[in-house]
Amino acid sequence: MKKLFKNKWFIALLVILVLTAFAVLSLVPGSPVKKLLQPVQLVTSPAQSIVKSAGDTLSDFWSAITDGIAIREENKALKEQIADLRYHLTQNEEAALRYEELKDALHIKDMFSNYDIYGASILSRESDEWFSTIRLNVGSSDGIVLEEGNSYPVLDVQMNLVGRVIETSDTESRVLPLFHEGFAVAGKVNAVNGATFMVVGDAELKRQKLCLAKDIDRDVVLEPGMQIVTSGDGGLFPEGIPIGVIETVDYSNPLEVTATIRPYSQIGKLEDVFIMIPYVEEEPEASQNAAPAGN
């Protein structure tokens, strides 16, 4: 037996079996197995941040050299644009004041008024086609608390859909990107009573940076160029988050009409994202009950 434990192939087999067991156990909700990786995270995360910032600095420096002439031209154009915008700004300030007055009066509700928006930076992206989650620098200690079965939408700076948060630790969150084959969201054509369907990630389309629209009613007419937003069905995502535009539609099988969608968000080039977390407003009854006590 002792001899067996000195055999390197036997040890390798044991390690492979243990790692396989850990990998399977990690799929169990709330599995403590993932906590075994925390020491590795503690050591490697700061080191990776240093390498990333060094790489970004080098990349910026190189861009500054190569884009010098283009930047000068752009600067000139931007200065003219600033002057023009300043003029418009003074005109719009008055309109904004009017809007605020009317907003309360007409009870206009902001589309995402029931959501807290948290900013986050992308720490790391996919390392190959299968290891493809995105890591963010905010976690439960920053207020991103995720319960089992729940999820939060992740948007880019233009408020386009990037993916959804599927796991959080104390200091980090993991995002399932829009292209991932496990991603699914209810979408609709951005129009009054627009057709609804499911937008999902697909392994074949992922390499072309496209998503798949399925469960489309065969009577629905979809055309390339139509804008797709979240429909709000299912409750995880609010209605109206821009997803992308339809690129192609396939009516060849009337029982399974599909379309490809090119997302607005350029996930590979993102640096910063926003997480939308819904909050429950205090019930008016509670505040009314509290008021007389104070009086």
Binding site: V33, Q48, L123, E167, E204, L212
Partner: protein, 211 residues
């Protein structure tokens, strides 16, 4: 066993050099994948490095470097898969498992017959990459049939043309600088015309067990 005569300084140096490589390569890969990509695939620096560590420096180097690099991969970009209940979950230890196996496979790929020569190391990288892609494809096929999640599937032809071939090309290209790093910057030096694997010969392949 030759472990008794092992040089502590050499071992510490080996650990430090490997740690720097692992942190640097894994950080580069997950921080700038768009700069390392082609046709939807990314040059897998960590994977290639692990294979080469096993190929040049033996079984234990491949196994330990593979295991540690895999743990780092599990922290930086773990795979998310659809569970049996239909929920997507982030997994753990799949990186450690795959890179551990890759390190061992690299160390066993005709290393004795080919005397760990440099040109054949690229063949080792290509062979292990092919095994990784084929096994990954088969695992996804099996898991998808269990979970009834078809989104992760693609046809064998697509897998060949758009997944395997670009990955082989990228990994072969990535192997060239990594071979130079491993051969000339350590942890095992082959300079001075020596083609002998000094550390493995002096300390034996089991030197990690002593640490």
């Amino acid at each position: 066993m030759s472990l008794v005569h092992a040089n502590t300084k050499a071992r510490i140096r080996k650990i430090v050099v490997y740690a720097v490589y692992i942190i640097l390569l894994s950080s580069l890969q997950v921080s700038f994948p768009d700069k390392l990509g082609f046709a939807g695939q990314t040059a897998d620096l960590m994977f290639v490095f692990v294979i080469l560590s096993g190929y040049f420096n033996g079984f234990w180097d491949g196994a330990v470097v593979g295991f540690v690099a895999g743990l780092v991969r599990d922290v930086f970009s773990p795979p998310a898969i659809v569970g049996l209940d239909g929920e997507v979950r982030v997994t753990a230890f799949i990186g450690a498992l795959s890179l551990f196996a890759a390190g061992i496979a690299g160390s066993a790929f005709f290393t004795k017959r080919m005397h760990r020569n440099v040109p054949f190391s690229i063949v080792a990288v290509l062979f292990v990459t092919t095994c990784y892609k084929v096994l990954g494809f088969l695992l996804i096929l099996g898991w998808s049939s269990l979970t009834d999640a078809k989104g992760g599937l693609y046809s064998p032809l697509t897998a060949l043309i758009y997944s395997l071939l670009p990955q082989l090309l990228l990994n072969a290209i990535a192997a060239i600088p990594l071979i130079l790093l491993l051969r000339f910057l350590g942890p095992v030096s082959f300079r001075g015309g020596s083609h002998r694997d000094e550390i493995v010969e002096k300390q034996g392949e089991g030197s990690w067990l002593e640490i």
